[in-house]
């Protein structure tokens, strides 16, 4: 029960990610909010993988354990994929933001609302 703060951190990260997403107007800040949201999800996976008094699932020069107590390897593989996907998505969104700024000279979503009709 002493490690419950990990779950609290996950909830707080998700909450702040969604809150920033809803209340901020700058395009770049929305990308940052998405990064916070994804960090929350990754932390959740890693918290699921944890086991008390367990070591990393690596056999090279591992301590000699009587029973094999290792943390779960699957969530680590899953968040590896998720981190790369999150990085790629942020890069693409920032490229979009660069183009939007070049075309409209603003990054404020309220000011960008008016450009709905094209030519």
């Amino acid at each position: 029960m002493t490690n419950f703060f990990l779950y609290i951190t996950v909830v707080l990260l998700l909450f702040f990610g969604v809150a920033t997403l809803l209340f901020k107007r700058n395009l770049i800040k929305i990308v940052i909010a998405l990064n916070i949201l994804e960090s929350g999800v990754n932390l959740f996976f890693i918290t699921l993988a944890f086991k008390n008094d367990a070591t990393a699932p690596i056999f090279t020069l591992a301590p000699d354990l009587a029973e094999l107590k290792m943390v779960l390897p699957t969530p680590q593989a899953l968040i590896l994929t998720n981190i790369v996907i999150g990085f790629a998505t942020s890069a693409l969104m920032l490229a979009f933001a660069v183009l939007v700024y070049r075309n409209n000279k603003t990054l404020d979503i309220r000011k960008l609302k008016g450009i709905e009709i094209h030519d």
């Binding site: 979009f96 094209h118 030519d119």
Partner: protein
């Protein structure tokens, strides 16, 4: 060799996509021929799977990377340990649609998108979009589904902003990617909750041991909301008009079928993951069905009323897309709502199954008609240089083929006999009436408004005097564009005149693949 086909269907386009930047240096023609051959090969492989899966009703499993690909659970164990691909009726139905769409849209975009240095990237992203769709439809593993959903979303978002010289497409791409990323993050949260309960990521394994606890219901809510957001159902439909109108026309057609792929995911989650009504405390299928029906009715109404007041032809069709997605949700929602064993399956067998058949048949009809309409909108854009209905007139004089296919598509999607959507809408009306008469009347009313909006488009753009001062491009259409549109119109006519054959061949195996209890 056929055992390897499910993996080859996904891996072969990936291989070609990875070597495409090198092949593109050799010229335009080798690149076009190579990609066309790959898409054709994928379609042939899909068609060759039809006798085994659809007619004989066998479900193909393929384990990736193991020494024995046909054996899902290894020796001595009771659970699968690798990624499993599963091809059943519903997967193959959606995959056939995706392959068909990719072929037609690729032929259309050969000449529609002008040759440019950027077009190499366009072809590459197109191929990867098709791969994402096919991978999503074949996989039986939750995290693999997430990865292919991301491939589909990112390639779609990049293709939406293909015309970087205009001011709005990059912003539309940004919005589409934002909505997709939020949706997939919450989907991953649902997957994590499922993993926390069962220790496995395989859909069939979780289905067998599903306990319907509170955490499982939360996972269902997250996954459902995420996939409904990706499919463009109201109240999360805000991204659809902007995205569909800013993308080039063949990309919009591909976006239509990728929204249907998200709907495929939704139905898979509802039935294959959570559809286990024989355990003791199960989720309330009646409530779940009504939630899906409410989303469907809202989409229908919001879509068609907003479509009536639009001036931009692509935005009109995009709102209309939202409304037709509502039909699908309503049909499948009725099927879910009566999916229970309390009365021995009587309600399901009498009208629930018909509602699901109507819904799944309508996926096919709606996608093909809507894709065709978006391609004709592309022709309109090419002729007049704009998508504004107030500035278009008199296209029927020059482009008779386009007018004919537009009439076919518009009549088809409004549900006029003898075209294909008539059969699917009739199935929906009859079965939904048995469930609740009010829904059926709303559906019919929306159908009438649909016809009204397309009459408006036809009147503005096609009829009227032929003026050559507003035309931008006067040359006759290239053969590729005409071929693409006529193939789709032919598919509409064929499935319209042979509805019972189509139902028996394609839709019934789809339902038996999806619903495995009755």
């Amino acid at each position: 060799m056929t055992d390897n086909f499910p993996v080859l269907i996904i891996a072969l386009p990936l291989l070609v996509a990875f070597i495409l930047p090198i092949v593109s240096r050799a010229g335009v023609k080798p690149r076009n021929i190579l990609v066309f051959l790959v898409i054709l090969a994928v379609n042939i492989m899909l068609l060759s799977l039809v006798p085994e899966v659809m007619i004989r009703g066998k479900i193909l499993y393929s384990v990736i990377g193991s020494a024995d690909p046909a054996r899902v659970v290894p020796e001595g164990l009771t659970f699968p340990v690798r990624i499993v691909l599963r091809v059943d009726g519903f997967s193959l139905f959606m995959a056939l649609l995706s392959g068909f769409f990719s072929l037609v849209c690729f032929i259309f975009s050969l000449r529609f998108i002008p040759e440019h240095g950027r077009k190499n990237y366009y072809v590459l992203l197109f191929l990867l979009m098709m791969t994402g769709m096919l991978g999503l439809e074949f996989t039986n593993d939750l995290f693999n589904f997430f990865v292919f959903l991301e491939i589909l979303s990112i390639s779609g978002a990049a293709l939406v902003s293909y015309r970087t010289d205009r001011s709005h497409p990059p912003y539309a791409g940004y919005k589409y990617l934002l909505v997709s990323t939020i949706a997939t993050s919450f989907f991953l949260l649902g997957v994590a909750l499922c993993y926390a309960q069962y220790g496995s990521l395989n859909m069939e394994y979780i289905h067998r041991f599903m306990n319907h606890t509170l955490l499982d219901r939360m996972a269902l809510v997250f996954m459902l909301a995420a996939l409904a957001m990706k499919a463009g159902a109201a109240p999360m439909h805000m991204w659809v008009p902007d995205t569909y109108s800013e993308a080039p026309a063949p990309v919009t057609a591909m976006l239509v079928i990728s929204s249907q792929a998200s709907l495929y995911g939704l139905f898979r989650i509802c039935f294959t993951l959570f559809g286990n009504p024989i355990s003791r405390d199960t989720i309330n299928y009646h409530t779940l069905g009504w939630i899906i029906i409410i989303m469907g009715v809202l989409s229908m109404f919001v879509g068609v009323t907003m479509a009536l007041v639009q001036h931009d032809v692509k935005r009109l069709m995009a709102f209309h897309s939202v409304s037709q997605t509502g039909y699908l949700l309503m049909g499948i929602g009725v099927g879910v709502a009566v999916y229970t064993l309390n009365d021995g399956g009587a309600a399901y067998n009498s009208y629930g199954r018909v509602a699901m058949a109507g819904g799944i048949f309508h996926i096919m009809n709606y996608s093909i008609s809507k894709g065709l309409l978006f391609l004709t909108a592309g022709v309109m854009f090419r002729r007049f240089g704009t998508c504004d209905l107030d500035r278009m007139t008199g296209m029927a004089h020059r482009d008779t083929v386009t007018t004919a296919v537009f009439i076919i598509g518009a009549l088809a999607i409004s549900g006029i006999p003898p075209f294909n959507a008539f059969s699917s809408k009739l199935l929906l009306y009859e079965s939904v009436y048995r469930f609740s008469p009010v829904l059926s009347i709303i559906a019919m009313f929306v159908s009438v408004l649909t016809l009204a909006s397309f009459t408006k488009v036809f009147y503005s753009a096609f009829l009227g005097p032929c003026r050559s001062d507003i035309l931008v491009d006067e040359e006759p259409l290239p053969a590729g564009m005409i071929a693409g549109m006529t193939i789709m119109a032919a598919a509409i006519i064929v499935t319209g005149f042979l509805p019972s054959h189509t139902l028996n061949l394609l839709v019934d195996p789809a339902i038996s693949g999806l619903v495995t209890i009755f």
